[in-house]
Symmetry: C2
Subunit: 233 residues, 2 copies
């Protein structure tokens, strides 16, 4: 069992957090950082591909622990999350300005993954929804005001386990940038206000076991963003 | 383009239908009828496996058409849908009475599937969420009062294309019955009131092309259930 604690410095915006839990859908991009693709021996996609996590998997700050299901090899994947403010459909993936306009706010998130269950699903050609969708498999930070992140393609994401840095990379390494991501998803499924998009994880994913402490956050120009902090014991 | 028309005999319950569109999640069972498994050359699962459809894919009566994405081999799968009335977690799959108690109402549904996209995903070990999740890929009937279906394991589902019967089987052929389904899903993800469960499709799935007319419905003891009718042109 790991205990999930709220960030130290910021209060939860209850209203916004409540609406997070009611997100119509959570759509996650896979394989969006080259070094992460290599570490899992995966193929680099020509197009962004994506999957869903159920909103029942969202774990708001302070509502832990993250529960490891029996027999599961539990991996962390730190990811920048977008919270949409507009309804978009067949969105033009080249329109940078419209993409930023469609974003209401951000959050930091950890896309917890039952890696052994996922490997089995891949081998058998089965859906990923179980390995990604267990209760508590989506710890999120407090909601981050849009103004706090002037350029979502130029922030540093990090995650430590027992204070050892495991993930630490800039979002400038995304293979598919946010406008392209929103374009591709919205050509399949309409995105609505409140929907959450996870933008993929950089290299360094790995296992956690009960007792481990995960901390994750965002740095902008070397400076810590307090409301993005996640701590999981 | 296919036009989706509301059932003839019953008015839509606007409130309930609105809440359908806001379903927290739609969870779908795969391979739950033996003859359907055989027709797609699939392996019979030891446990029910499941995947998500986004609520944005729901197509209420009268809000058609079903849109076929370019290049997609579009298949129908008629399925009984459960609409939950209770929050359940770690549910006992042997408790028949509690399972029925957890159901608020029913609907008939068509789990539209981009079969060629799904086959590609299976081959590559990629998620199913795209092939199952396009807008309009979940036509539903009007909401069916629970009292209209005394035994959900003893009704006939049918689907015709251009008035030719393609699917017609009893729900008694389900490999995993409803209590077991609710048990297995809720051991992974908490099910909340309003969540929708699709219980799998009998044999006879196949392609539809623009201009085809699909009709689907439920018969109980040979008698048509008016509120379950779906018509898609
Ligand atoms: Mg991920
Ligand atoms: Mg959902
Ligand atoms: Mg199906």
């Amino acid at each position: 069992m790991m205990i999930f604690r709220r960030g130290l410095a910021t209060a939860t915006n209850a209203t916004t957090m409540a609406s997070l839990k009611k997100a119509g859908k959570v759509v996650c991009i896979g394989r969006n950082y080259a070094d992460h693709i290599a570490e899992l021996n995966n193929t680099r996609p020509k197009q962004p591909f994506f999957f869903l996590k159920p909103s029942s998997s969202i774990l708001p700050p302070g509502e832990g622990p993250v529960v490891r299901p029996k027999g599961v090899d539990l991996h962390y994947e730190v990811e920048l999350a977008l919270i949409l403010g507009k309804r978009i459909k067949d969105f033009d993936g080249n329109d940078d300005k419209a993409a930023l306009d469609a974003i209401d706010s951000y959050a930091l998130s950890i896309d917890m993954t039952a890696r052994n269950v996922q490997n089995e699903a891949k081998k058998k050609g089965l859906p990923w929804d179980i390995c990604k969708g267990f209760d508590t498999f989506l710890p999120v930070s407090n909601v981050i005001n849009k103004s706090a992140i002037p350029d979502p393609h130029n922030i540093e994401l990090y995650l430590t386990v027992n204070d050892k840095v495991q993930q630490q990379d800039s979002t400038e390494l995304m293979l598919f940038r946010i406008p392209k991501i929103l374009g591709d998803i919205s050509k399949v499924m309409t995105l609505n206000p409140g929907d959450i998009i996870l933008t993929g994880t950089p290299k360094g994913v790995g296992p956690v076991v009960p007792g481990d402490v995960m901390k994750a956050g965002i740095r902008i120009g070397g400076k810590e963003l307090e409301e993005a902090k996640i701590e999981v014991q």
